[in-house]
Amino acid sequence: MDLLEFARGPALQTAAYILVAGTIWRIVGIVMLKEKADYSEPRGRGGFFAALKVIWTRAFTAEPFKKATMYPKMMAYVMHIGLFATIFLFTPHIVFFEGWMGFDWPGLPNSVIFFIGVATVISGVALLVRRMTSPVLKMISNFDDYFSWFVTMLPLITGLLIPVRVLFQYEDLLAIHILSVALLLIWLPFGKLGHAFLVFITRGTTGMVFERRGART
């Protein structure tokens, strides 16, 4: 078995299992904790739809905070949308997903993806620079923040290097790319990247509690 076969096979597969198991473990660990009943007389509607509402509305910034948070918000949006596009709208990736799931969808031209990939890395670097220079972020950041950044950027950078073909052959570059993806999947449920699924719980509970009070969410 050569490196590429290992990466495509056991490495990716094991990473996927760890991703699923870790995610379930973390969610169960949180949901299993006691939750006290709220007996106060509700003013507004809590429940499931309140959760959905805030999961949606918190994607936008309230007017009073726009000015102060504009820069990191823009950078984070570019990075997240860029991640989504490079992962799911790149034709070779779609072929991979098709082999796995049995159906495909239209992608973007490779040149566009390449451009988006570069923009994603740049916004990621901008966020990292902010993290390393802002007094607030320097203070609150820990290993997790930097490592999570690193494992998110790695597949992007290795992916962008594939067509450049420096130093290594196509197969090796691809294998490295896939291994970096495996690393991301393995780390995702454990550190702060868990926010990809935790965001539904955090925004959701806030929605339920504060919509129930008829208060601002």
Binding site: V31, P64, T69, P72, T202, T206, F210, R216, T217
Partner: protein, 453 residues
Amino acid sequence: MTTVDGRHRLDREAERIAYKPPEARHDKQGDMSTDERVEHAMHHFVKNFNTQTASYLDGCVHCGMCADACHYHVRTDDPRYTPIWKIELFKRAYKREVGPFAFFYRLFGFKKKITIDQLEEWQHLLYDSCTVCGRCSLVCPMGIDIAGMVSMARHGMFKAGLIPHELHETAKRAAETGSPLGITPEKFEERLEWMADEHEVDIPLNIEKADVLAVMSSIEIQKYPESMAATAKILNAAGESWTFRSDGFEATNFGMLSGNTDWQKEASMKLINTAIKIGAKKLVLPECGHAYMAMRWMGANMYGKPLPFKVQHISEYIADALNEGRLKVKKVDKSVTFHDPCQVSRRGGATQAPRDILKHLGVDFREMPNGGDYNWCCGGGGGVVTIKRADELRHRVFKLKMDQVEATEAEELLSSCANCRQSFDDSQQHFGWDYTMGSLMEMVADNIEEQRS
């Protein structure tokens, strides 16, 4: 073009540079050993972890945006005042002791054990520099309610005997005498009588059975006694069957503010039991923000089941009475701006009521820029106004509030919280400011249209 006189530094800039964090003072209560304090803090941090807090503590992406919403950080640029940093120890306790990966955190020592020095340092962050105003909770992209967790972290601090002395003394006095300012039932009755005479208004006291139980904040009884007369005028004019009771009149809850859940429950149960005893259908809370949070949203949970009566803030009561036509007011020809008490509006959801009232009063109502639910806090909530050593910082953040008020150029400044009023009064004095905080309820009471029947 503006010309700047180069001989003097611009004051606004000077102030920012000149800011020094107040000298550290770590208060301690009781004579526990250091280890006991740490243990108590941890134990009571852990007691607060439920699904909601766990998801919050696990979900933070360390984006730092909450810092931009907090008046303490905005006014000082001190990164320690970043809201999520204020609960850093609480968060560490969670990751180490309870979280889904607590085992690994301990095994590899990723999260170190909390030390007494850290707890002492955080006293300043959890008390002096957080009014639990909840503004940060609205900016967080993950939707984390940081303010709620500051309240919870205070439980651990209280049990460890690590809270500011003044707040502890006030809370203790409240637990012992029933009032944070030591107002006894006799004193309350005395002052009611005085107000009844002075304002020639009937103030029902200790009626056996009544539909409405009205309660007061000690701050009002002591500093703003007119509030008692105003409450009476309004409830009388609305034709209500109501009463004050000397066995349950104190609405403030310093147990909640200081972090002592037992005291919090005691204070709440006193009002609940009195309301049940007189068969009240409604408990009307005074102009006090945290009293609203304590009873409207936490009262039933202290009681352990739904309350057999409704709970309203006086502004909600007045708004209903006006909307239903039970109460009528004369037009007031003034421009008015309104300061929303955080616990009533932003966190309590009763933002509309004062606006309805002001509409009935026919005033020229001027909303503050980024006002309403996004209001800057008065700086005195969460028990902060009682903490003397925090005065300098409190005055400093009040600058934001002054700017917000001044931008409206309104003639009158009103609010519906005696605690806000108290911190406005204090800051007004400190700055020699033009605006005097007034009471919305008193404006209503002064302009009741007598109904002939």
